[in-house]
Symmetry: C2
Subunit: 143 residues, 2 copies
């Protein structure tokens, strides 16, 4: 289950941010895409319909959305930063290296591993990064 455009808009307001037309457009672009998008990707996507939206605004909006965990930052694959739509529950991502599609999975609980590592290394675990890359079913069939 992924967050919806309406849900994200409501969460923004709930946290005291203004719901500007520009922010609506950025949120719309992210919720409409199954892929991971860089700030430049989003700029290109929205620039046709909304040529007045600046890249700076996109950066600022993405930063807010990420800080509220309404979108997820991805690390695997490309070198630059990219984002995908968030979800209500904690989850991880599989990214298709061919088409860029992102699939969530929440069927894995990482906390036992965290506990084990904490015991073995003396670290107090604060966070983790777990992502997979691969080729999605469709891309495999098209090959």
């Amino acid at each position: 289950m992924r967050l919806t455009e309406k849900g994200i808009a409501a969460a923004l307001k709930h946290h005291g941010y203004k719901l500007t037309p520009q922010r609506r457009v950025v949120i719309g672009a992210i919720t409409a895409s199954p892929d991971h998008l860089t700030p430049a990707d989003i700029y290109r996507k929205v620039h046709k319909e909304h040529p007045n939206i600046g890249l700076t605004t996109i950066y600022r909006t993405l930063e807010i959305l990420a800080s509220l965990e309404l979108i997820c930052e991805l690390h695997a694959g490309g070198s630059g930063r990219s984002y995908t739509i968030g979800a209500p529950e904690h989850h991880h991502h599989i990214i298709c290296s061919s088409c860029g599609a992102v699939v969530d999975f929440s069927s894995y609980d990482i906390s036992p591993l965290e506990a084990k590592l904490s015991r073995e290394t003396g670290f107090e675990i604060e966070g983790h990064l777990l992502e997979f890359t691969g080729r999605c079913r469709r891309c495999r069939q098209n090959a």
Copy 2:
């Protein structure tokens, strides 16, 4: 078990790369540090003793070392790219968010999870990213 300066130098030669003084210095800086280092970090470290080594050379050397998997690229934490010394076996990393120390762990086999995901999602898994951040024992005790 981590790779040694000698082992990395030998591997470089084995793959047909020349073992220049500059590369030796970069390799030395990485093997000498328990932390993750950005290209700029390494430049600062080596610049005192070897002011003639350019940042460009450091970038080029890091790229080669990473492509041969003699060093590991880290993603968690900082935004820029950073590296740490490699190891002979596949492993993952825990990074101290306070002091930057990197601890390896290889006590976790991710392949059952990969198989499960492949079955559930139809993806052919190609790679993964698994890192933890936390506070190491020493930093916790100093706090």
